[in-house]
């Protein structure tokens, strides 16, 4: 007998368990935790992009009401603490390691971006701490700043880090240049395109926060923090910065209100509050205000590229050459170096059979906030480049843009498919997702809609992107060989309690993704325990054995697979207990969704009979088996996963104002097996909102002195509900071949696939204006300039 109503298992749109808590204001975020005797920290931040610190005078601040301490970078240096570590090492073309300058927790000698922490004021209230922070006098010798990559690379540019020549972090490449040059030599047509991938500011709903505590009795530190990966923070902060052993350091990431990558990294404030809590033996809390978020959360994207595509006379791609400059910001954030390399250049084959690819990436330091992974991380940059290039190639070869894509698609029977840039795709069907999307978007009927719009005085355009991404980030051995200083497996513990309810401990972390529901559905599906009796525990190093956290759409593919492995162990043990209880051979025991059966008989035991026997082992194979029913598994996958699909955007431009309105958006994604269709739809829609944000609205702008001009919501355009069109989301599944669930990942596809679809649509709408290059975001002012003939200017 099935104890599970089937609608709770894999494929059911179970309503999100966690939303009852969130919608009723019962979520517990880092800033909601308050402790007896808690102090508040306010960070003194550099107002300059580049300056030498001649001195920091804290005397007046230290005497102010409520102030308990004021610490500076020099105080931290006295305690011989480490700097903020970088978790990924890239090697230059010549084999030498990248430049990896120190990243002090608080600057003692030099500040390198607006917002760089210099000191911290700690007081009884947040306002008192802020008052004291304002009273800290920092004597700056302002230095010329390099706010853009162009400025940083110029001869005679300001030196941001001593010993880093030309502000170049690394000069890396991938692919066979000689073979590529041959391919170009034989090409019938070469299409080239200059592209800028605009810099973005993540803006999670919940600003970052951190609460440090120190227990004088046990010598244990506890940090509550807004993190996507508490174990990683424990490792990096404990081992590299504060030198606290893991056994004395607990990191808790409770409810977290969005991350999008920006909460992966180990940030200065986490170390500051933990260290200060130890020094003062009192809890210390810091919570960012939105202004601080803009100038201290890692930013995303920021590439300048030149791409060249070689084609034969039939439009078959012969080769791709890419030169990219990637902005690292002032320091290397935790995973920054891998984003424009292994998460970018390896994706340049996309969905196409390009036989040879060469990509060179120069990573550059600038006097700006560090740049790191942001939803999609590298893959949106690759996809934008490739899918824009395909449209330009179509135009310049005279081949229809859909047809050109079809001619170059990897065919369904070519999997596993080895690309020339290291990746081996396991499965996919790009024709199918394209066909399904074309039908759903009524691509064929577009010209009629365009004509109708023209009658209304509007310019209508349609565009597509047939993207691919690599996620489920992954195999430890592979990432290790590519420079990762960590493993990328995941951990799952299944604890079946005596009365049959289940607690799952997972190393993945949910900050909006709905794990408490999706993961519970896996247990419901496999063990037959109702979703209501499955609790997911995550985000606490004191509870969960270990974990690498959530990013790169890895939670289900890697974390879910670990749970599946642990459940296999539960079932194997359960079978032995069942065999004992039913006096049968273990080989004869079958298990299906909560019921153990002696094959071919009606003798059964429910999971709860087994768990009772396991915890009350009166009648139990005690000579062969330990009591209890709890299993842990580590899962390290064999490969990345490769979601892909087709996004189609339809836009309308008001030629009088240049305003682009999204009128329709269609997404058909292959995310592998769908566990909860409603959650997948939500994830894809959210990603598309961010992709449309990048394409039409968002951009981070620094002035030449390194001041952040788009430093608030008044100037940084976040997408709002009325900026977004009706979004049709559908899936077309091919299973991942190497993980037990067949899942690929859905967290980033929206943000990866959509920007080029939108820009291709805008360029299509402007087809009578001869637009070739269009950098994001396509703001009204930029579009108006194009329409009014200022084309060259806007295109730069």
């Amino acid at each position: 007998m099935n104890v599970v109503a089937p609608f709770e298992g894999i494929g059911a749109s179970v309503r999100r368990k966690e939303d009852f808590r969130f919608l009723q204001g019962r979520g517990a975020y880092t800033d909601d935790f308050n402790r007896q005797g808690q102090l508040h920290a306010w960070i003194v931040r550099s107002p300059h992009a580049h300056a030498r610190i001649r001195g920091v005078d804290t005397a007046a601040a230290a005497k102010m009401p409520g102030v308990v301490a004021v610490f500076t970078g020099a105080d931290m240096a006295k305690d011989a603490l480490g700097g903020l570590p970088c978790g990924w090492q890239i090697h230059n073309k010549d084999g030498s390691p990248m430049a990896e300058p120190p990243h002090p927790v608080m600057a003692a000698e030099k500040v390198r971006h607006v917002g760089d922490p210099v000191a911290v004021a700690i007081a009884a209230t947040r306002e008192q701490a802020r008052d004291a922070a304002e009273a800290v006098i920092v004597d700056y010798e302002v230095l010329p700043a390099a706010a853009t990559m162009e400025a940083a690379l110029k001869p005679g540019a300001p030196v941001i880090h001593d010993g880093v020549a030309n502000n170049l972090c690394y000069d890396w490449h991938i692919g066979d240049k000689a073979v590529l040059d041959q391919a170009f030599a034989g090409a019938a047509k070469v299409v080239s395109l200059d592209l800028v991938n605009n810099r973005l500011i993540p803006n999670a709903m919940e600003p970052r926060a951190a609460l440090g505590e120190f227990d004088r009795t046990t010598g244990e530190y506890t940090l509550h923090t807004t993190s996507q990966n508490p174990h990683v923070i424990r490792l990096l902060m404990g081992a590299n910065v504060l030198h606290i052993p893991e056994s004395k350091l607990r990191v808790v990431a409770p409810d977290v209100g969005g991350g999008f990558g920006s909460k992966i990294y180990h940030y200065a404030e986490e170390a500051i509050v933990t260290w200060s809590a130890g020094k003062l033996a009192r809890p210390v809390k810091w919570t960012a205000d939105r202004t601080e978020s803009f100038m201290s959360d890692a930013h995303g994207r920021d590439h300048v590229s030149k791409a060249e595509l070689a084609l034969d006379a039939n439009g078959k791609i012969l080769g791709l050459r890419v030169h990219t400059y990637a902005n690292m910001g002032a320091y290397l954030s935790t995973f920054a170096p891998c984003v424009p390399t292994y998460l970018y250049a390896t994706l340049l084959a996309g969905t196409y059979t390009t036989p040879v690819i060469y990509c060179e990436v120069k990573a550059v330091f600038t006097n700006t906030v560090p740049v790191d992974a942001y939803r999609g991380a590298g893959r949106p940059e690759a996809t934008f480049l490739l899918e824009r290039l395909m449209d330009v190639a179509a135009k310049e070869t005279g081949i229809d843009r859909i047809e050109l894509r079809r001619r170059n698609f990897i065919q369904p029977d070519q999997f596993p498919y080895q690309t020339p840039v290291a990746l081996q795709y396991d499965s996919g069907n790009y024709q199918a997702t394209l066909d399904q999307a074309l039908a759903a978007a009524d691509w064929a009927g577009f010209e009629a809609r365009r004509a109708e719009a023209a009658r209304q005085g509007k310019l209508r355009g349609i565009g597509c992107s047939t993207y691919l991404e690599a996620c489920g980030i992954a195999p430890s051995a592979v990432v290790g060989s590519l420079g990762a200083r960590a493993g990328l497996y995941e951990v799952g513990t299944i604890r079946v309690h005596p009365t049959g309810s289940v607690t799952v401990l997972t190393g993945a972390h949910s900050h909006g993704q709905g794990h408490e529901t999706t993961f519970a559905q896996l247990v419901a599906d496999k063990l037959g325990v109702p979703v209501s009796q499955v609790d997911i525990v995550h985000g606490d190093t004191a509870k969960v054995p270990f974990g690498m956290g959530t990013y790169g759409s890895r939670s289900l593919a890697v974390g879910g697979s670990a749970m599946m492995k642990a459940m296999d162990k539960i079932i194997a043990k359960g079978k032995r207990i069942a065999a004992h209880l039913m006096e049968a051979s273990v080989d004869d025991i079958e298990f299906d969704r909560g019921t153990f059966r002696v094959a071919g008989t009606d003798k059964t035991k429910a999971l709860v009979d087994i768990s009772v026997a396991a915890y009350v082992p009166h009648n139990y194979p005690i000579d062969e088996l330990e009591p209890g029913l709890e299993e842990t598994a580590f899962y390290d996958p064999k490969n990345f996963t490769y979601p892909g699909g087709c996004h189609i955007a339809e836009v309308e431009i008001d030629p009088d104002t240049g305003k682009v309105s999204m009128v329709n958006f269609t997404a058909v994604d292959d995310v592998g097996r769908v566990i909860n269709p409603m959650i997948v739809e939500g994830q894809v829609q959210g990603g598309i909102a961010q992709g449309i944000g990048q394409a039409l609205l968002e951009t981070c702008i620094y002035d030449a002195d390194g001041q952040l001009l788009s430093g608030s919501m008044m100037d940084y355009t976040m997408p709002r509900a009325d900026d977004l069109p009706p979004v049709g989301v559908a899936t077309h599944t091919t299973l991942c071949t190497h993980n037990p669930l067949g899942v690929k990942g859905c967290g980033e596809v929206g943000a990866i696939g959509s920007p080029p679809a939108v820009i291709n649509a805008v360029v299509d709408a402007l087809r009578d204006y001869g637009v070739r290059t269009l950098d994001m975001p396509a703001t009204p002012a930029k579009i108006w300039q194009i329409i009014n003939g200022g084309r060259r200017q806007a295109a730069e």
């Binding site: 609205l697 008044m714 355009t717």
Partner: protein, 263 residues
Amino acid sequence: MYDFAYHKPATVADAVKLLADPDAKAISGGHTLLPALKHRLNKPSALVDLSGIAELKGIRKVGNAIVIGALTRHVEVATSAEVKAAIPALAYMADHIGDVQVRNRGTMGGSVSNNDPAADYPAAVLGLGATIHTSSRKIAADDFFLGMFTTALEPSEILTAIEFPIPEKAGYAKMKNPASRYVMAGVFVAKTAGGVRVAVNGAGPCVFRQADMEAALAANWSVDAVAGVKQAADDLNSDIHGSAEYRAHLVTVMAKRAVAAAG
């Protein structure tokens, strides 16, 4: 926020007395002042909360004018049957300020006293040739808006009401700044007993009248009449959202739309 004293007077006279302290500040809806305080951009000694002053509230028709109390919230103007009947363009303008929360809190008096170059109200006040009533005098719209965030109000003077003459017709159109959703360029046109008036907001450092458009519309009230009038880009705002040239172009576009809306 820095510490400040808080007063809630019941009469205009008491409020004016409290505002004699040069560092004290009036607060109405707080939608502009509170964010500034939170960012510590402002350090008033005291806040004088006007919200308890009954005489600053309400919408009345007086002769051929609509008189709106300073404390009237945007939502009240937007939904007032009297305003909608007499000056639909004014109700429309109020209904398109910010978002629902902003319209539920923000007040006409706060908006007009603040004279944000990108705010909506100043265009309506100047475009309709309204008269501003204060705690001590009456000021014509043409003499009120002096420059960016600057008005003819003395430091301790309170805007109490605005008298909007009912026009023959009026219309308003704006292009929003994509980020802040304040006005990037807006135009309020009105055909009034005193002649045609065209006020431009958002585009420049302060709301201003567009004399060429007024002349064109006086000669021929039509969309085509303003379509040919170009706004000079000199002195207009230029920022990361758009150049002065773009704003100048938008002024003509919005003028056409405002005239079309006025009918």
